[in-house]
Symmetry: D2
Subunit: 346 residues, 4 copies
């Protein structure tokens, strides 16, 4: 054993290690996400989801969800680096146990009618295209009294929260919490974010809009359809915002909806934020780092951070509408957001 | 002449004066506004306004407006301490000269149809109940192509801006500015303040919503009519807000709309902000420092700062809706906002 | 009487007036302050101040102060549009009655030693060049136990607060309030604004630094004397700041100190803020709208808003140091700050 | 193979997985850091550092640093969950290659004299106890012209930045960058954070103070030594702050210094932030989750997030001073900060 080897050995016992043996790994020239570009196929996954809705009770499952696991992020499972997506199903007559966690969450409704989530005492109803927020540490449980299965996209930031070692979880003592507020109060009180109840004041860092209905989202898109310039990368793209601040809906997750006009060919770009998309309607493709992800209604796809991408609406006659969420608010808060034009090739 | 008298005389020549001779006036125990509680009667004033619409051309008048001058604030004329209100009329076929000023302004439409204001290149259309913003230093001119006279409430903060000696004014070289943006773009792009165009960024301290239509305001009130707690002072009261910040529409003026349910008897309160009200519909009274101001549709009334007030809807069957604006944003920015419960008597 | 005359008459009774008869006065092309450029001569005023220190007891005067009244602003008296300056004297053995007011105030010490102001239970000591804050609604009384008269510049924003009708005043039940905090705690806890006590949190909109000592100010100027670029208008100019926010010391008043090197010839500028200067040391002149104000130690002078000005240090060998305060924070908060290069002539 | 097994198999091929098989791991009742409480022994490590200063050239090493690797965080190596600490040594006559990275970094000087870091064109000098910032994406290189080895604690947030996949790195084309600013300009211009250069404006999210000298830190501690209440957990504890905002020195790292009076027995507490301590002087112990970490001068120790801890100064006559840094700004920005009283036992 040389002197150096003896010293390296001694260092180990003292909790120390030579930086010069790790240097390159710790300081890459630019980020390369462990996540890969990937598309989850709605038409393939939906039957399996229906299978489990019969094969597995909600009492057994607590939540009956197919996690959309990025092939590059299997342990722990995640969809992009900091965010998670899953497909949840609940049947008529079922309820899901009340609990809360520090992870911020939301649901984006894909199909069905007649269910609601109760969030901190308020019943929040669901219809396709609605965005329902469950901000961190809010009690929530689900109830379905409709006629057909209800399916939604579940989104959480637990990969981030767990990486930051800040996750707490608590189960409610009863299966369902009591209802203490008017139905859909958060959504109705802020029907327009531009007219805010003056007898209320901001309470916490999240949006008070518990439900952004698709009906209102569609109205907003329609109102500017013919006139808006939009973005050369993203088309006509709207950010769901917190009426108290004008900022993102939750401190760790930003949500957007975008309309790509028929034949839209977006410019290429990349940024340090990681994004998950869900297709509201239409058909197209997103080219990510040279890989072409073809998508149609209700498909989900991942664009990893710093991957180059561009969107294409392959229909010459119909528009395409994408819902998306990302960790851009995290990147901005921490001074780590960076973006540039970039050609994804292909 | 005593020594003291000689010294006082000498001081004058040096630009100095003894504080002890002014003390009490400079530091009152509490503010007493020079403004008085006052109501301006729409049914009385409207005919005079129509008179001048014939007797005086817009070329002569630049703007054809009856100023609503508070009896306590005649020189310079103002409606409450920092704010002004006027009734403006424009006839079919008329235009009003383009100009701009550092004063923030808005219009609240009372009657008529078919007119628009062009604000920094955007045509902003008018219908009764609409709130149209003309933030400081934005070019604006008016055009009326409807069939009947168009009347609105004009509001400006020139009493404040002039008191702060910060007023600038400029006339546009042509009578009308060119139109460079889509019609009502500001209003349509922010149809919901909770869905904001992601390809735009905040530009200046004012709201980008050029027009808050009554249609949307009514929808917002309807959405919570049956469920909202509201305030014991103001009923169901909504603040017009700036979608970029969640704050007031302009840095010096806050705007609100409130619905008083049939038979509403408000609690008494006072605050350092001065407020001007306009009655959208209904009949009632506001008791201000012991004086009862009876009001009905389109009347304007003033509640001076630190005056105690309470609202009453005198109808047992119809609701009453009030629009109002105040300098509360000024008081808050400068750390001078103060409020407390207070019984106006009567 | 013509019809128009009858209508004008009728309008008066209804609280209305024709805008077209007031238009030009209300919307000037640019602001013209009622304040004039003016210098108050320390060597002339000091003897008069000493006179009153013998001729008038503090019991009679409450505060023994010569107000520095701008010839353009005599009723109510003010030094510039929104701000006041006065010269206060207190003799050994005297005390001044405890009171509080919503006006923000500070003292800038000119001569003497051995006195203190008690501010909300904290004794704040005084030495020449020190800046002592008395933010709005803080109790304060003065005590002098030194050997010679103590003289300081008093500054208040009461012209602003009274114009906004937001002034409250209260006298303390005893002559002096009890001392409840360590001496000079606010100053010592924030000796560097860049090292802040982590067991405290922000409490109110004003700086927690009760005393900015001249000793520390001089150190700061010395530390950059030879290397700083400074401003071509103001030389090496430092803003007294609030360590909790980085912003101005109080929401309505900003304070600065600037060093003009020997022979400094400043560039011309103007802005909507109004400023009061006090000469800490040196000799020079400030040209304001063509008028040359010559100044030397302890003189006070006024630069009205939107007046063009430039500073000159007339000494070829000694530097000059100016303390100043302005309403720039008000102008910025309300979106009314504007500035441009401007030659004051002369 | 059962139906379920076939479905699970199929899901894998589709990038999906059943949440109910992962649930408990993803949502723990409370966080349990992978990091362990640990102390790095200065007296043991210093000789090894000196060994490598002779055995390894800076050309070979780029940076000659012993990483302080938490036994629970070896791959990738980190000191606490989001932060890194290392001991760096540089010899007289040496230089270290200029580079930049998005990771925020700082140095806290342990021994030596005569070296400097050049940061974006400014030479920043080093003396024991000084804190030198190298905010993200600032070029930096080191030069040592003193007589004895120079040793400092290196701190970086690369574990966080890499976990967020936002790390960029670039090498400067020459070994050393040119000097373009006055020496120590950032430190001298903000000698007091409470007097800020009015000709500069905020540029980026980090503090402009390039060097917080120990001399000034000691003055700040001395100024309140006898009078400050301090915190029952942390004694007299000061936060290094950004004079432009009053906030932390960099968006991801907060730095503090605290003095524990002789015999200090701190109260127990825990919070979601992870902290690294370095002992400036004195002797004591910190009990962390029941484990007693004894420390003396220059030792480094780690308190993982949500671990309970309390500090003890074991000397009855001398005070103890600790420097520390943590990810509290991250936790607060993202709404994940939580704290409570907690007894670490032992």
């Amino acid at each position: 054993m040389t002197t150096d080897e003896r010293v390296y050995k001694a260092l180990e016992g003292l909790g120390a290690a030579p930086l010069w043996r790790f240097y390159g790994n710790l300081f890459p020239a630019q980020p390369k996400s462990r996540a890969v570009p990937y598309r989850w196929d709605w038409r393939e996954l939906r039957p399996h989801l229906l299978h489990f809705s019969k094969a597995l009770s909600l009492e057994e499952a607590e939540r009956r969800v197919l996690m959309l696991v990025n092939p590059g992020l299997t342990d722990p499972p995640a969809t992009v680096n900091t965010l998670y997506a899953g497909l949840q199903i609940i049947l008529p007559g079922e309820t899901a146990q009340a609990h809360r966690h520090t992870s911020n969450a939301f649901r984006f409704i894909l199909e069905g009618d007649g269910a609601w989530t109760t969030v901190d005492g308020e019943r929040v109803f669901m219809a396709p295209g609605d965005l329902l927020l469950t901000p961190g540490w809010h009690w929530h449980d689900h109830t379905h009294e409709g006629d057909a299965p209800m399916i939604w996209l579940d989104a959480l930031d637990y990969p981030l929260v767990n990486a930051l070692e800040a996750g707490f979880y608590e189960q409610y003592p009863q299966r369902l919490q009591p209802v203490t507020k008017p139905d859909d109060a958060g959504s109705r009180q802020f029907l327009h974010g531009r007219l805010t109840p003056a007898w209320l004041t901001q309470d916490g860092p999240n949006s008070p809009v518990t439900r952004y209905t698709w009906q209102e989202t569609e109205r907003a898109l329609d109102a500017i359809a013919d006139t808006a310039d939009g973005s050369d990368v993203d088309g006509v793209v709207l950010e769901y915002s917190n009426p108290w601040t004008g900022g993102p809906v939750m401190p760790t997750i930003g949500c957007r909806v975008q309309r790509l006009r028929p034949g839209f060919e977006g410019a290429g770009r990349r940024h340090t934020a990681s994004t998950v998309f869900n297709v509201v309607r239409g058909e197209g493709a997103t080219i990510v780092d040279g890989e072409r992800l073809e998508w149609s209604e209700h498909d989900t796809f991942a664009v990893p951070g710093w991957a180059s991408y561009r969107h294409v609406n392959t229909s010459a006659s119909a528009d395409a509408v994408l819902f998306s969420y990302s960790d851009e608010p995290v990147m901005r808060s921490l001074g780590l957001y960076r973006t540039e034009e970039a050609d994804p090739g292909a």
